[in-house]
């Protein structure tokens, strides 16, 4: 069999180096396994399998193509057309190579949970999973019981290595999840409502009683962000280095954590809320309000991008699928709704209550309420979510927050009696990218990555509903205002049609020429009226505009004393 030496040549430059690294060790291994399998199986099934794998391959290629190819039909410049065709060809090839890499060269495979016989996956208990998996994984099932400092909330770093836990009564803790070492814990002696990691594990922000604070890993207070006020929920946009917060008064603020600049400050005007989530796909912040609306915000506009009525009662939580096309919301009326964000339509309504929601990297949806946690999954791939796993905590525990740990099959749960961690097979992305998020990052790598991510820091303007629009041409949508000439021509035409109308023959007395003339005049006037009205309206608005100008308000003799505005 032929193997990747050929593909690597055509690959996108950016990727080429890493593939070469992958190739060598896997080369022999794959050849061996394929050789064995082809001997064992009859040729007929091989054919069928090949077709099947072709479909699978096509789907993967489509994922890497990132949209349709450009339509070159209308391009007149032959040279440009040729160049673009070559470029498209290259894109196609690189997508194919990436798909092949995904199929053959990725080092680990995802987790799974399969029921046998009459078993159902949602009846499988954590204890039985613990018996089946390796010791290393079973260590990830635990409950940390901290009853005094009560309900806990969590946040993970983007590589899933570190966890920050915040107890309502002022307990802040940082844990290395790989070694399960407590790195630092501090008591801030006031209410802590939320905690959020900044770009790496060195810094985290905690929303405390009056203000949010930024601490470093050693627990030293670095900044007090007084402008934010009493913040209820904190979120960090890691591409933009923005810290977004929503406070008690319903004010949404964005602060650039690199320069300390306040980027945006918006009053939502929809009351107090602590439901806030960033869409990781495009950086848009969504807020769920007590009126049942969900609003989506960007830091460069004072009005929400989207305002959608999702529930009849208050929205209790919301979550975004990592691919950005799905949103899950839950309302107090015991409904979870799954929304398609491309059409802003409900895809599915599930009858269950959720105080907290979270999507995993592979698209599992965790919903927590009371002491009960349910995991939903779409097995068909057609966004039809159904129950996958359930988990009940000890009675009396109130789940405050569920959060999947990135790159692991683990769900972190913050509850009233501490925090817990359970295994959810198939929830995490099995293969990490060292340049995106590396769970085994060394301090040197972390430093390097910090520099690079700062170089690639996106300006706040790049937050928009469709992030693929960056660098494309905006088609002008505004209609041109009709010119004076056009309006006149239109009026003439209307008058002509009014003049040309034929009258019905009326009875004697009503058919007099004088009556017919007045009728015709009336019709012409009627045709003219809208145009004349529009004209007068325009004249008035322009006069109003003039009036507001301070220079025209003054008597002419005083106008020269008016101070000129600095330009």
């Amino acid at each position: 069999m032929k193997f990747p030496m050929k593909w690597a040549v055509s690959l996108h430059r950016q990727f080429a180096a890493s593939i070469l690294k992958f190739q060598q060790p896997n080369f022999t291994r794959l050849r061996l396994s394929r050789g064995l399998s082809s001997k064992a199986k009859p040729p007929v099934t091989m054919g069928a399998k090949k077709e099947n794998s072709d479909d699978e391959m096509d789907e993967k290629v489509k994922k890497y193509l990132r949209g349709d190819a450009a339509n070159l039909e209308g391009v007149k410049d032959k040279k440009l057309k040729g160049q673009l065709a070559v470029r498209e060809d290259l894109y196609g090839k690189s997508a194919k190579t990436a798909a092949k890499i995904e199929k053959w060269l990725l080092p680990s495979e995802g987790g799974y949970l399969e029921a046998e016989g009459i078993e159902k996956t949602w009846r499988i208990k954590q204890e039985s999973i613990a018996r089946e998996v390796d010791i290393l994984s079973s260590r990830n099932q635990y409950d940390i019981v901290l009853p005094e400092l009560g309900p806990y909330t969590l946040d993970f770093t983007s590589n899933g290595r570190y966890m920050a836990a915040a107890g309502r009564k002022g307990h802040l803790a940082i844990v290395d999840m790989k070694t399960l070492n407590l790195i630092k814990e501090i008591q801030v002696r006031e209410t802590v409502r939320d905690v959020a990691y900044l770009h790496n594990e060195l810094f985290f922000a905690a929303a405390q009683k009056k203000y949010p604070y930024i601490y470093n890993r050693e627990g030293t207070e670095l900044h007090c962000l007084k402008e934010h006020g009493p913040v209820l929920r904190l979120q960090f946009l890691k591409n933009h280095f923005l810290l977004a917060s929503i406070n008690k008064f319903g004010q949404l603020r964005y602060q650039d954590v690199t320069m300390g600049e306040m980027i945006g400050n918006f009053r939502t005007g929809l009351g107090r809320t602590d439901v806030m989530q960033v869409n990781p796909f495009n950086g848009v912040v969504a807020l769920g309000h007590s009126s049942g609306t969900v609003t989506m915000w960007k830091p460069t506009s004072s009005v929400p991008l989207v305002k959608m009525l999702c529930h009849p009662g208050p929205v209790s939580s919301l979550a975004f699928h990592p691919n950005g096309h799905l949103m899950a919301t839950s309302g107090r009326e015991n409904k979870i709704k799954i929304w398609d964000l491309r059409k802003f339509e409900v895809i599915q309504t599930l009858p269950c209550h959720a105080k907290t929601l979270n999507f995993s990297q592979k698209g599992l949806l965790a919903a927590g309420t009371g002491s009960f946690i349910q995991i939903l999954a779409d097995f068909s791939g057609s966004q039809n979510y159904s129950s996958y796993m359930t988990h009940s905590m000890a009675k009396g525990y109130q789940v405050g927050k569920v959060l999947f740990r990135p790159y692991e099959d683990i769900l972190g749960i913050g509850h009233s009696m501490g925090w817990s961690s359970i295994l959810i097979p198939g929830s995490g992305e099995p293969n990490f990218d060292s340049w995106v998020a590396n769970p085994f990052e060394t301090s040197k790598q972390r430093r390097e990555k910090e520099v690079h991510s700062l170089l690639d820091k996106l300006p706040p303007e790049t937050i928009m509903l469709d992030p693929t629009k960056v660098g494309t041409v905006r088609v002008p949508q505004k209609k041109e205002k009709p010119t004076k000439k056009d309006i006149e021509a239109e009026m003439e035409a209307a008058i002509e049609t009014a003049k040309g109308t034929e009258f019905k023959k009326k009875t004697k007395g009503r058919n007099k020429p004088s009556k017919r003339a007045t009728k015709r005049r009336e019709m012409i006037d009627k045709a003219k009226r809208p145009f004349l009205e529009q004209q007068t309206q325009e004249r008035e608005t322009s006069r109003k505009k003039q009036k507001t100008n301070p220079e025209t308000e003054m008597p002419k003799s005083l106008q020269r004393f008016v101070r000129q505005k600095a330009t």
């Binding site: 080092p107 499988i124 950005g324 060292s434 690639d456 960056v470």
Partner: protein, 514 residues
């Protein structure tokens, strides 16, 4: 129940020993990296800014001549060697790496007007205003020898004295003929003291000459009578001719597309022509603010460099209307000759201030050894920049160049003047009878001369014009000239040529063609 969860042992994903390289894993899944396009755009913007920061094109000046440098020649055998000839008759061979004179070739009495090297790099041909052509032996020793000897001077292998002063010389790319330009075009053999062939079309002095790199027998010349003429050595007569509004100072053939050449014109522009179709220029390269003195193509054929009387050197794309790059220094005076180095990565300019200057062809390119990772990074940034070059912010940064004040002012003035002239022309057209004012072409080729004459002929003799414009030429030949030999045709052009305007106040007022 079958169950599997992700379980990574640290040993598999980290290096074994501290001397090992860190292990790197890739996953190209688009959902892992959000807002890819925005990130790419920011990278492009940063790359454009970094390019500006690192743009230090000037490498060094080569000092030694005692008069302004008139001509240069590349040595095809040695990448780092270049010959230069100056107004005082001095010819020097330079080592560009150490920026020193390696060898001198004394002998010319007046200015050295032309230099060229044979294709094998062994013979240097020089010509000058002292009516001599000198052949010099370029031994390998004096190029390769790096230790500097001040009295390292060569003796000419041959000196051929001829009737008139020479203005330019060029060697065949493949063969041992060379051609000189002067009162006429002479073709010489290395071993004969007299030209083997002589061409003449028109009475004015030929000022530049270049052989075609693809077809060794074709050469292009430009003359003081504002013409560009193509010759074929296999024929006894010149092949084609174009007359421009102003004279052409130099010509360069595109080495990769050898049917195309670019002419450096006195009217501040360069004109790219297809030698097969001289009716119209393929591209007009505008940006200089004074006469373009010399032009040389990059060996890649994608770019060329021009030197101008406005004391700047510019680099153009072969198909770009405006320059990609402008080089200038405070001390550089009027540039008379430029050359692109044989590896397409350096540019050499020779100017009035007796110095040769060495520039990088890409201003922000990193010199020295570039490690593969670094190179890949550069390539990536280049690609990203190329992808987003049309966006206003990136475009603004990439396009911006600091110009010396006189050039900046002159460019503004020139723009205003051209605009004013255009407006005036428009108004004249608008206020005259339709069809009474014709827009003059910048150049006329012989074909259009025929056309004009044909039109006149048709007007006086009431012969209808042929319907197809393409056939005009053939038709005219058939109709009127019969079997007139091609070499006489130039007489017509000569007779009907308008005199150039005598009181030219500035370069751009073009002599009108009636």
């Amino acid at each position: 129940m079958k169950v599997k969860v992700i379980s990574r042992s640290t040993g598999e994903f980290t290096r074994e020993r501290s001397q090992d390289l860190q292990r790197v894993f890739r996953n190209f899944d688009p959902t892992l990296r959000s807002q890819e396009k925005a990130v790419e755009y920011v990278r492009a913007l940063n790359a454009a800014k970094l390019d500006k920061i690192f743009a230090r094109p000037f490498i060094g000046a080569m000092d030694g001549h005692r008069d302004s440098i008139k001509c240069m020649a590349k040595n095809p055998n040695y990448l780092k060697a270049i010959f230069s000839g100056s107004d005082d008759g001095d010819i020097r061979l330079w080592d560009m790496a150490s920026r020193r004179t390696v060898c001198q070739f004394p002998g010319h009495q007046g200015a050295v007007q032309g230099l060229t090297v044979s294709t094998d790099g062994s013979i240097l041909v020089s010509c000058g205003s002292d009516c001599t052509v000198r052949l010099w032996n370029v031994s390998d020793a004096n190029v390769a020898d790096s230790d500097y000897l001040s009295d390292n001077s060569a003796k000419p292998q041959a000196v051929y004295v001829w009737k008139n002063a020479f203005r330019a010389v060029d060697h065949q790319w493949d063969g041992d003929l060379f051609a000189t330009a002067g009162a006429q075009v002479d073709v010489w053999n290395h071993n004969r003291s007299q030209p083997v062939n002589t061409f003449d079309w028109g009475s004015d002095t030929t000022i530049s000459i270049r052989f075609n790199p693809g077809e060794p027998n074709i050469l292009a010349t430009s003359a003081n009578d504002r013409s560009i003429t193509l010759y074929d050595l296999r024929m006894s007569s010149p092949a084609r001719k174009v007359i421009m509004r102003t004279k052409t100072n130099s010509i360069a053939w595109n080495p990769m597309e050898p049917m195309n050449f670019t002419a450096a014109n006195e009217d501040c522009n360069c004109y790219s022509y297809d030698a097969r179709k001289l009716e119209e220029a393929k591209c007009v390269h505008k940006d200089h603010v004074s006469a373009v003195m010399d032009i040389d193509f990059s060996p890649t054929g994608r770019e060329f460099v021009t030197g101008s009387y406005d004391r700047t050197v510019r680099i153009f794309q072969y198909n770009g209307g405006h320059s990609r790059e402008i080089y200038h220094t405070k001390r550089m005076q009027r540039v008379f000759c430029v050359k692109y180095s044989c590896d397409a990565s350096y540019v050499i300019s020779g100017s009035d201030d007796t110095n040769l200057r060495l520039w990088k062809a890409k201003a922000s390119e990193q010199l020295g050894v570039v490690l593969p990772r670094e190179r890949k990074k550069h390539e990536y940034l280049e690609a990203v920049k190329n992808r987003y070059k049309h966006l206003p912010e990136v475009k603004r940064i990439v396009r911006h160049r600091h110009l010396p004040k006189p050039v900046y002012k002159a460019a503004n003035l020139r723009r205003t003047m051209i605009e004013a002239e255009r407006r005036k022309e428009q108004r004249r057209k608008a206020h005259s009878a339709p069809g009474s004012i014709m827009t003059e072409p910048v150049q006329i080729s012989l074909k259009s001369v025929y056309e004009m004459r044909l039109r006149r002929h048709a007007k006086f003799s009431n012969v209808p014009l042929p319907p197809n414009k393409q056939d005009n030429y053939q038709y005219y030949i058939k109709l009127k000239l019969g079997t007139v030999p091609a070499c006489n045709l130039h007489l017509y052009v000569q007779n009907h040529q308008p005199q150039p305007a005598l009181n030219r106040k500035h370069e751009i007022s073009p002599a009108s063609v009636k």
